[in-house]
Symmetry: D2
Subunit: 433 residues, 4 copies
């Protein structure tokens, strides 16, 4: 029996997570769910808390306590797991990032490019505060971080605090489901070997019941299967590229390999339906209207359009594997420790790990092939410069981060862009003031 | 249903292995056991085959075919697993190694020092021949190597052939049982983190139900628990050393840290009861007398004095984990691939791995602490020079190997020692002729 | 007294080189200059040979033999230095590269992007042939390579032959002269610490009489000093970028950091004066008209517009340092050997080396800072994939090379571009036929 | 014109150093020599100061000021070079180390084994105090360290202070002279490529006028040339070992490869003439009697028996190369920075460096061959554990250091030995109190 604190408990994703916990309650016997949010999000988090209580009741789990908090201390104290799924500045800040990118003729994606950069600057100080509270009040707890840019945020905490942290993303699990479907196989029969960074991860091998079916999977992809996420446009990969690579890019690689097409799509969407954040705001408004219904006692269908498929699946799997010391293989974001050669030991990478009560232990992978190494190095350098900027409020690192990212990479406008980022996000960037 | 070839099937250990397979037959559904030995070992291997058939019958497994071979081809063809547990030159050669070491005032241990060196020179050519047959006749098979010096032999095959090979040793499993006993816990509740080389491996962490109990285990060891194998003298470790190290050496470390005491014990034993090989010869003679009894249909008690406790446990676990693609964590000898930083990628190391149908995937460990690194590097260098000598018949590498090993390390007598090794083992060293 | 072979002796640069040798004849006592060119370049190489003889005579060095060859063997046999400054397909092929790049909306620069890629594919087979002749006929000779893309070509020979090779570029020496001028100091008082790749090299430290003046130099650059070469547009670097970087980029970095502006300039030049190659063709025609004048017995002024300033300075310095075993510090392209951490040992890098009779010994540099590492890794990966493509005729590597280069990086058109490159250059790409 | 501070100015070596400075005064124009010693060494340092003034006067250099100090501040303030050649506890402490080693049946050598360990514990705190003074009072100064164990002491300062430090030893220069003599060549025609650790360094290549003569040199050594120092017994290396190694060990390697013979020689010497320290005490007494002679105005012949040949040669060469920013190649002890792969970047190594006003820049060497790597790693680990013990007063590191050193390596007596070291040296080990 253990306590879970959910930082950003008022998120529209929370019911997804709660459903996962309820379904696997035997394996993850939670005693308390402590939802934390900011005071300005009081209404939302209380809607979520009430819905959670109804969901628990429907499943005969009234004994699970649901508490609501607007400061960290009480929520974190004594927790076994601290889930971080917060959004500093909320969707309005994300929309501002997206619009700023487009204004400069750049991709305005949430987790990379200038959007990911701005979000990291806003988010890292808050996560560091959570980590310091965990160090003091729940030193054995694991922080399980979903907050994007998940790789950067996880690395900042991993390097600058003693709190234990593991980053989670739904890209690997989504690819797993999709590839199993392509192979017309059960998910548990199919295993994928991932190595890379968050939102820049490759599948290097696919096995089905232990046999290597990587080439077969690539041919299926060459045959028109697009392998995307519902928030990323399904531009197919050129077959010659996939065959030459001998591996499977993740959907987010499109931002780097097909930048122009992705930008055109973003521009068009922004003009017609609004940017992704603007669309999500509408979805969220609808979701909270549903959540507030006192008769609703289950996760509503509509949440599946939100984009976070399988989040609860991986979160509950991870909690279960740690709690039960199970030695399960999972794909998470953690300290590299030499697993991917050529990246620093203290870099956070996304790769297959064995999970037990001590945390995540990455399997040795070796070096990335040349066609993947350079881009990965460049993005990792961007991430590390961004972390330096975010943790120390260092403008030089911030400028170099922007220049290093290939989605920004326009030296001529980098300074102006940085000034705009710092000005627009000024309320959330105490480290630069 | 699959076929297992056992190279060195006439070994006195084979009944141990057979018992393991029989007990876990549901998980390892063997269709054929192909026992291979040299013509001069015909009597022994036929005794073993007959005993195996009786053991199978007793357990209602008459459908498992037991075949006997004196050449490799038929045995290896179509096998899924090729177990190598052979002894080139048999115990007489081992006894000669031991006597040679003592004659030079050196330890004459079978797996390190001059004994391990000589055994590697004799064994590697035969294992390379097995590997070439596997490449040609059973390219998907795994060689599971128990043959000592297991780390060196496994590395030679791993680097100089395309055959898949995993090395096994009963030291990690024996330490696991002993430490669990010390902690008065069930083995499955206790997990050990190993990293090092075969017969030079440390336990870096002990957990019990997921909690770190390394310091507690060290204190138990300081309190007189000796943690040894039944073929290594139980000299206790000085408490201050264990506490400073913060880790647990394996029993074989005594040869390096307590060389003088171990040598004195060897000298005394050689004078009274004979060297270890000479003692084992007597045990073996008794064992084969038992095995030949047509009424014996189970593994006799006396085998437990032979020294190979838990061999069958780890062998069957490994076969099971590969066959069932189970993702189980085990401690085996395999290609380092960056797991232990500072050792070459193609060095074979002994460490915790995730085992599935693709083989062994070591968990990233990071660098060894300074107090362990230097000795490990030195032994690995000895191993690599020995492999060069054994594969290419290169005398310069052979001499440097002897000089590099701290148990030999006597430059003055190294050349004479090398000449003696090459002379005594001349029948088994075609590569030097 | 030694022999120098000049492969591509009919180059318009040759008189520059000859002038250098004549001026420092005491230090580089040449007995023979063997000029080699293709049969179709017979007229040019004979013009150069005649001019060289007149230049030697004017300086009282008639004893130096000047020979002309149309096959490699006689020229290379017994040479101490083999200078490679050839241009496969001549300027017409370069012009085609430039036009092809522009047709795809990409930079068509000679040494990077698609132009550098195509030039590498054409050039590497010829250089490998030179290397094989050197291995056989002059195994102690040094190949001194000026042929662009110099880093890629040098690495191909370094990795795929046993011939000794050092690559030279005039970028470091030009930066040295310019920075000394900016500091109003003599060149010999100013020292620069370079580390990077050919045409992607940074100055990490500037010292003047031993004192660090890096920050002062950066401020001078921020104040409007443009630091360029006469074939690269002088776009100033943003001061905030230079200060954040704390280092000085080379002129070629503009292609990567200011891609759009450089492309616009190329497009405009191509429309008005022709591409760079087309302009150079005119310059060359004028130069050869001058060279052919039987009264000319010195290097004409007009050669300085050709772009190869200081080539002869570094070439003669290098020959002198090797010949005299002088231990001189120079910036050359050679095997990394760990000097720049994070790049492979067998990668060719451009950095400060100690030069003696054994060749070039790079000074240990350590890792590149994050803001430089990623881009460098990406370009090195591009280079290595290009080498695989060029040496083995491997289309998959060729496609991945194009996709990896950030100046190409357009996945959508990469295949079509590759097909165009292979088609246009078909006469010079036997490895792909 | 610059000031040199000499810490340990009362050393009997000082006249050697002074002679070197006087001979090369044009290149090293010293304005002041500030001799520092402890109060108890007042008599000696004043004898040295007076002798130095007479030597200067004889050479017409009365303008060079010679000052004597018993605290660091005034001596270090404004110095350009701080030479450290001190001996904490003086020869009596060294003699105690030697006797202690012999008492335990171990080598009692001054710079390695238990003697080197004890000397490092005594010396590092004093050197750290010097370094802190340099940081504060002469931040641009170079510390030039001769104090043994020079590699360990230099690394301690290099890692734990910001002061610039270069370690010097006379082993490389002595080997250079000896090998040139063997080759019957001038020293300046012969170049040696060193890589290793202080007192554990190999010559990997010998060139004569640029041509590789390594094999020839090895054959000369095989032919009876012993290559030793006048304080190390000349046991010849077995020819087969030298040929297999393909490199030349330094004289100190004998302690590791020929331990027994060296120990026997030490035991015998201790019984007949006294330990090395005891012999040196007599030599020193005689030397100071000579030095005190008011008519002596040059370095006396007898100093050459003291063992420090060529110290002044390398010291003055180094001062000259830094002062004149000369880019000279020298063999010194400095931060590895990747030069020897497999050793940490911050390890101090002994290898060929380019010396200029910025300090020592090691040439990239690559990995050590297997026959050298393991021993080097082990000694470096010993050194690093010793540094941890010395800097932090950490007993666990101290015990592990002793156990790690192959000359001690006797686990059974390690604790007692450590207690004896700490007890005997108690006055000089404030960090352990």
């Amino acid at each position: 029996m253990f306590k879970i604190a959910v930082i950003g408990g008022g998120s529209s994703y929370t019911p997804e997570l709660m459903e996962g916990i309820i379904q696997r309650y035997q394996e993850v016997p939670v005693s308390e769910l402590a939802l934390v949010d900011v005071e300005s999000g009081r209404e939302k988090v209380e809607i979520i808390a009430a819905l959670t209580r109804r969901m628990l009741k429907r499943n005969g789990l009234e004994q699970v306590k649901v508490s609501v908090h607007f400061t960290l201390d009480e929520a974190i104290k004594g927790a076994r797991f601290v889930l971080t799924q917060l959004r500093v500045g909320q969707l309005a800040a994300r929309a501002a990032d997206e619009r700023l990118g487009l204004q400069y003729g750049m991709l305005g994606q949430e987790t990379t490019g200038v959007g990911g950069f701005a979000k990291a600057l806003r988010t890292i100080p808050v996560l560091m505060e959570v980590a310091r509270k965990v160090e003091a009040l729940a030193p054995d707890a694991f922080i399980i971080n979903f907050t994007n840019p998940a790789g950067i945020v996880t690395e900042a905490v991993s390097r600058y605090s003693k709190a234990k942290i593991i980053g989670l993303c739904n890209v690997p699990v989504t690819m797993h489901h999709m590839i199993a479907d392509m192979l017309q196989a059960k998910r548990e029969e199919v295993a994928l070997r991932f190595a890379g960074l968050n939102h820049m991860v490759w599948v290097h091998q696919v096995t089905q019941q232990g046999r290597d079916v990587t080439a077969k999977t690539i041919e299926l992809l060459c045959d028109g299967n697009a392998l995307s996420m519902n928030n990323i446009k399904e531009i197919p990969w050129p077959p010659a590229f996939l065959r030459a690579l001998g591996a499977i890019p993740c959907p987010y690689h499109r931002y780097f390999y097909q930048t122009r097409a992705m930008l055109e799509e973003e521009v068009e969407a922004a003009q017609s339906n609004g940017t992704r954040a603007e669309q999500v705001m509408k979805v969220e408004a609808e979701l909270f209207a549903l959540y507030a219904d006192p008769h609703l006692d289950h996760k509503p269908e509509q949440l599946s359009f939100r984009g976070g498929a399988f989040y609860s699946e991986v979160a509950v799997e991870l909690i279960q594997a740690i709690h039960n010391n199970s030695g399960k293989e999972m794909v998470v974001n953690c300290r590299n420790n030499g697993a991917i050669q050529g990246l620093p030991n203290d870099a956070v990478v996304e790769t297959n790990c064995l999970i037990d009560a001590q945390g995540a232990h990455p399997l040795s992978f070796g070096p990335l092939p040349p066609a993947m190494n350079g881009l990965t190095q460049q993005i990792k350098d961007f991430e590390r410069l961004t972390i330096e900027a975010a943790v120390h409020g260092d403008r030089a690192s911030a400028l170099l981060a922007l220049v290093t990212n290939p989605l920004i990479g326009n030296l001529a406008s980098a300074e102006a862009l940085l000034q705009d980022v710092l000005r627009i996000n000024q309320p959330w960037l105490p480290q630069f003031n």
